[in-house]
């Protein structure tokens, strides 16, 4: 008899969730950050509905502080799958006076993304927002459901979550409320890389080791760019680095690495002793910073 391996099983589980969203909701949207997890999500969505087109648009919340490589890759992916792209802009939210820019050396637009995201969800009347969050990433995300209910303010109530049993998902809600849905909840970082390698998915160059001008702050390397306020004593130097996660330039750390291809990356992360979000300065603001942000509607 054929043996279903763990990647096949995870793939089938995620495809099941994606189809369940298309069946249970009227107007879903797929949140696309440009990172490997959302790239995986787009590939899985393509497989779930093949040969029909992906039946929901991609939504990118643009902080305006991107690695240029991210935008380039995003546009090529959208073209490849004939998908529809919607961009929610943090800059617009700032211009409209909905939020104001953080100041100081650690200023980041990461927190402001929440407002732009909720704004975009409301404007598009989306009733389900698919995201590529995984439970192994962070302790608050470990408690997340596949179908995660959000009230009319987009808030998450972690103490009052709907139970999920077998493969029965309850997407009922009142008008104005929505769901966040996380089809790849059960994947680990290693699973994602093994799958992307097996499927030979082309990836943004940022994930592979390259020379880059960086600064070092609180033990984390940050890419030097016009959006970071440098302290007077912070020096710019060149290192061979790669991104382990891709987010806003201002809060995504880069790693010293020699991994030039996917096989090297898999070797690197199966021996590393640091978690992938270890380089995210947004998580380091406090012990419960992810839980606090998620309650307010952060992705």
């Amino acid at each position: 008899m054929r043996v279903i391996n763990h990647l096949d099983e995870l793939e089938s589980e995620s495809i099941y969730i994606l189809r369940e969203v298309a069946a249970q909701f009227e107007n879903p949207v797929l949140m696309f950050s440009g990172g490997k997890d959302s790239i995986l999500m787009v590939y899985l969505a393509y497989k779930a509905f093949y040969p029909a087109k992906i039946p929901f648009p991609l939504l990118h919340i643009d902080t305006g502080h991107n690695f240029p490589e991210t935008i380039e890759y995003r546009d090529s992916l959208v073209e490849k799958f004939g998908a529809k792209l919607i961009v929610g802009s943090v800059q617009e939210a700032i211009d409209q006076g909905l939020v104001s820019e953080e100041v100081g050396f650690n200023a980041s637009r990461n927190g402001l993304q929440t407002t732009a995201l909720l704004e975009a969800l409301e404007k598009g009347k989306y009733d389900a927002a698919l995201g590529g969050a995984r439970r192994d990433e962070e302790k608050a995300r470990a408690k997340e459901r596949f179908f995660s209910h959000r009230d009319e303010f987009g808030q998450w109530d972690p103490k009052n979550q709907r139970p999920e049993l077998w493969n029965l998902f309850n997407g009922r809600k009142n008008m104005g409320e929505h769901f966040r849905v996380f089809p790849i909840s059960n994947w680990t970082e290693l699973d994602v890389w093994q799958y992307l390698a097996k499927e030979e998915v082309p990836l943004p160059s940022l994930y592979f080791a390259h020379e880059r001008e960086v600064i070092e702050r609180d033990g984390t390397l940050l890419a030097d760019c016009g959006f970071i306020n440098k302290r007077p004593d912070e020096k710019v130097f060149v290192e061979k680095v790669r991104c382990r996660t891709i987010g806003d330039v201002t809060c995504t750390g880069v790693w010293r690495s020699d991994a030039e291809n996917v096989e090297d990356i898999i070797k690197e992360i199966s021996t590393t002793r640091m978690t992938e979000r270890g380089g995210r300065t947004d998580d380091k603001r406090s012990e419960t910073s992810m839980e606090d942000r998620k309650k307010l509607g952060y992705f």
């Binding site: 279903i4 589980e13 189809r19 029909a52 608050a140 139970p163 309850n170 093994q194 270890g278």
Partner: protein, 421 residues
């Protein structure tokens, strides 16, 4: 682990336990010894433990993710943890053990291949042990592994181990469990967890890790009775695929092969499988739990909620459900004449509670037919009637086509879960 080394199965197991039985220590050890705890995670919980004035690094902080859980020092919700060895990938559903969290234990048990039951070697079989075993049996977890823990505190006594094993076996004979194994361990010292114990040469069985890596799980799915609940109809509406109608879903039982004669429910129309499309293109057959798209030879009207089966092997088609319900709502009780939305496989219907037959005591298995007010965490046998026919199998035969959830129509919350008798 390399790219090629991806041919490993996925095993889901559940644990349940209270503060003192060593569950967190055991999970911590499995994660630590399989190198699944990262340095920055370890440093973070080391810092918190130190701040709280705890002597040792508290590994429970790894699984207790929410602020309120960390404040109270208890697991409230189901926490999912991941680790892998070269042989398998594991998902742990870690649940609280106290009676007031029965619903969380039931949730963790619903998808598990293995239930890991911990017994403190000093105390033997206690109420909580029985509760875990009964829930595992009700939820039909295929394999039970009973770890008799803290053997170091009873001088690694074989006599004590045999005594506890006998008493558990004696109790379990009343339950519907097929496969039970016993392992004497010390999670704290590491005996028989990953490495064989030098202190218990009298024990000749497997270590816990060996058991988890090798227990046969390929037959945990029903591979006999063909069941394909249609989840979504794929219609490309393009010139290239003009008449394409693909029935997408996840195989819930049996093996579907190209060329098979099939019947669709509820219409009863017959057809033949023309092709099966999986994530990597066409495939000759599909087995559980694969997500595929099935194309039929004939153009018949099929929509979400319908089921594709074999002509000579069909589920029961009925509006009357005899179910064991676990009640999840702490605001309202389950009452006769109560109306709910019901979800079964890919079907949705409404239902009414016709009769509550008895309440089950999950510590003694006794049936209470007098006091049948069903409150949160209670388990009861109930008769339901649905607004339309459902395609049911007994939960014992198929966990997917034999399970339902009930949704409160005012709050939209999932208030009950049921297993078809």
């Amino acid at each position: 682990m390399s790219i090629k080394n991806t041919n490993s199965e996925l095993l889901r197991f559940t644990t349940a336990g209270s503060v003192d039985d060593g569950k967190s220590t055991l999970i911590g050890r499995l994660l630590y010894d399989s190198k699944s705890i990262f340095q920055d995670q370890y440093e973070a919980i080391e810092k918190v433990s130190e701040r709280r004035g705890e002597e040792e690094v508290n590994l429970a902080l790894l699984t207790d993710g929410l602020k309120s859980e960390r404040e109270q020092g208890i697991t409230i919700d189901v926490a999912y943890r991941y680790f892998s060895t070269p042989k398998r990938k594991f998902i742990i559903a870690d649940t609280p053990g106290h009676i007031q969290y029965t619903r969380n234990m039931v949730t963790g048990a619903s998808t598990a291949n293995v239930a890991l039951i911990l017994i403190d070697a000093r105390n033997g079989v206690i109420e909580q042990t029985k509760r875990h075993a009964i829930i595992s049996s009700l939820l039909q977890i295929p394999h039970l592994v009973v770890c008799i823990n803290k053997m170091d505190l009873v001088d690694y006594s074989q006599e004590q181990y045999e005594k506890i094993k006998d008493s558990f076996e004696n109790f379990a004979s009343k339950l519907d469990v097929k496969d039970v194994s016993f392992i004497p361990i010390s999670a704290l010292k590491g005996d028989n967890v990953v490495n064989r114990s030098e202190n218990m040469s009298w024990y000749e069985g497997a270590t816990l890790m060996y058991y988890l890596e090798n227990v046969h799980i390929a037959s945990d799915h029903n591979l006999i009775d063909n069941r394909f609940p249609v989840q979504y109809v794929v219609r490309p509406y393009s010139d290239e695929y003009h008449d394409y109608r693909g029935y997408a879903g996840r195989v819930a039982g049996g093996t579907f092969k190209v060329g098979d004669n099939v019947v669709t429910l509820p219409s009863g129309f017959g057809s033949k499988i023309k092709s099966i499309v999986g994530p990597r293109g066409e495939q000759s057959d599909a087995i559980p739990p694969e997500s595929v798209t099935i194309l039929l030879e004939d153009d018949i009207d099929i929509s979400r909620g319908d089921m594709i089966v074999r002509p000579n092997n069909q589920p029961e088609v009925t509006q009357d459900l005899d179910v064991m319900i676990c009640w999840f709502d702490h605001m309202k009780s389950l009452v006769p004449r109560g109306k709910y939305t019901l979800r079964h496989s890919t079907q949705e219907a409404r239902c009414i509670v016709k009769e509550i037959q008895y309440k089950l005591d999950i510590e003694t298995l006794s049936r209470d037919r007098e006091n049948i007010e069903i409150k949160v965490n209670d388990i009861a046998r109930v008769m339901l009637r649905s607004t339309k026919p459902l395609f049911l199998d007994a939960y014992k035969e198929n966990r997917i086509t034999g399970s339902i959830i009930l949704v409160d129509e005012a709050t939209n919350n999932t208030v009950g879960v049921g297993m078809v008798i």
